[in-house]
Symmetry: C2
Subunit: 286 residues, 2 copies
């Protein structure tokens, strides 16, 4: 018998979970839900309810449980039972889960990754952008001890020079209850522009704010940076992300963005998604 | 009543389909499966069988049905019934589906995208690479009328200059029965290097070949370009893709790659995935 540690993706909303993820959760003796790095709180809460109702041994993980010595303890547990670590979105986007997989493998435990739609893929699909026009993505974090982290500005600059869009992920620490808003993120980025003055972010730079992608509150706003600096609007509920558009869009992208903003191109769930998840979970878990 | 056109992602293997995709397929009066652009033939064939057994009106689309006038005809059909266009992987990776969504929206039909795990996400997860180290991806195509398309070489160069990995998708035309092999792709790329001599691809350049990612034949091979030029090996069955690694890897990536090659980090399905899909489809479709 080979010991297994499953890294299970949950997708961005209840019904975006792949079948394989459900099968993995059904099989695991212990389920640890990563509740602090990402995703809509609602998804974690509902999933927790459904899993508990099936009698599963399930816990919400705090940060310390998935880092440092927490990793060792999960690997230790995987040695006598199948353990699932469940993550909203895709399980291999955050470095901490990579470390977990590597640590398990180093102990001879097979780390099985179950992929799921993450914001990286969904942002492209929700906006109708062309995938080969996406540059490297980067996370905007709040200043630490007064020090502003300028790396996202450099990534945007480098992508713009190559005619590519930049997906910005915004810092989120659900344990502290902190969710960076798009307005906050743009203010930070613009303060870097004012300091460095390299002409990366200009008044006419086009910005897309994405809110609650893939959920019933799915919303997309296309603005110029100038408009947002004058009168900022977060464009809905968290989780948020931002795309800084390249200067030149493909005509198809231009059209798609227009429709995405009006909701004629969207990624909203089909009605009854919670019931469907419950129904399928009951069958697979019994 | 609003007319709907669903662009439905199927994921990379039968059980990687999100629940929402199944709900959409269950709801649609007409299902068109894109069978020529991508993905394992097996997934399309099995899905077709399952859908047909539930009495669905389902067709395999040839290329012409999803391009040019084919688009108009799908949009036309969406005006009096719900139509699903189902795509292996994520539905918004190929330009042709973007065009379809835009055309539908232009006619007042709501285009609903259902995302699913694509090779873009799965490659990162399968190899344990860090997502912020991924540059722009690009498709390698075979020479047309003797002309070699050099753009992939430029993308690799630009990514390497920034310390980023490059995901190479390989040309696939299932209608013609053509699937580019990794060996073929590397030969094309190396011929560009020999011509341009810019030192982008060297003997010691590290190459990862990914085959059948997310399926039971899932396999990963890490080689140097020199090794592969001397004695090439496609590392398993199609579908294929390649990652050209950046010169400097994060220690976690180095470890993860080692385990991915040995199968200690993997993305293989859990046994019985076909049966689970059939079971769930039967419930949702009845």
């Amino acid at each position: 018998v080979i010991d297994l540690l499953f890294l299970v993706g949950l997708g961005l909303y209840l019904d975006l979970i792949p079948l394989r993820s459900l099968v993995a959760l059904a099989r695991c003796d212990k389920i640890i839900i990563d509740a602090y790095t990402s995703g809509p709180k609602y998804v974690v809460e509902e999933l927790l309810k459904i899993l508990k109702s099936t009698g599963k041994d399930v816990v919400l993980a705090q940060r310390f449980m998935l880092e440092g010595e927490g990793i060792e303890s999960i690997v230790w547990e995987s040695q006598d039972k199948d353990v699932c670590v469940a993550v909203v979105g895709d399980p291999m986007i955050a470095t901490t889960h990579n470390a977990l997989a590597v640590e398990a493998a180093a102990s001879g435990i097979r780390a099985v990754v179950v992929p799921a739609p993450s914001i990286q893929c969904c942002a492209i699909g929700a906006l109708g952008l062309l995938s080969y026009k996406m540059g490297k993505s980067v996370t905007v974090v709040s200043p630490k001890n007064g020090v502003v982290y300028e790396y996202p500005y450099e990534v945007i600059k480098s992508n713009l020079e190559r005619g590519l869009h930049t997906l910005l992920l915004l810092e989120m620490d659900l344990e502290r209850g902190y969710i960076m808003t798009p307005c906050e993120a743009l203010k930070i980025l613009f303060s870097i522009e004012q300091k460095r003055n390299e002409g990366v972010l200009e008044e006419q730079t086009r910005v897309v704010i994405l809110s609650s992608i893939g959920t019933p509150s799915h919303r997309v706003c296309v603005r110029t940076l100038g408009e947002l600096l004058q009168k900022c609007d977060n464009c809905g509920d968290p989780p948020y992300s931002i795309v800084i558009l390249s200067k030149k869009l493909h005509p198809l992208e231009e059209e798609a963005l227009k429709y995405a903003e009006r909701g004629l191109l969207n990624m909203v769930p089909i009605e009854g998604s919670r019931e469907v998840l419950e129904q399928v979970a009951n069958i697979l878990f019994r």
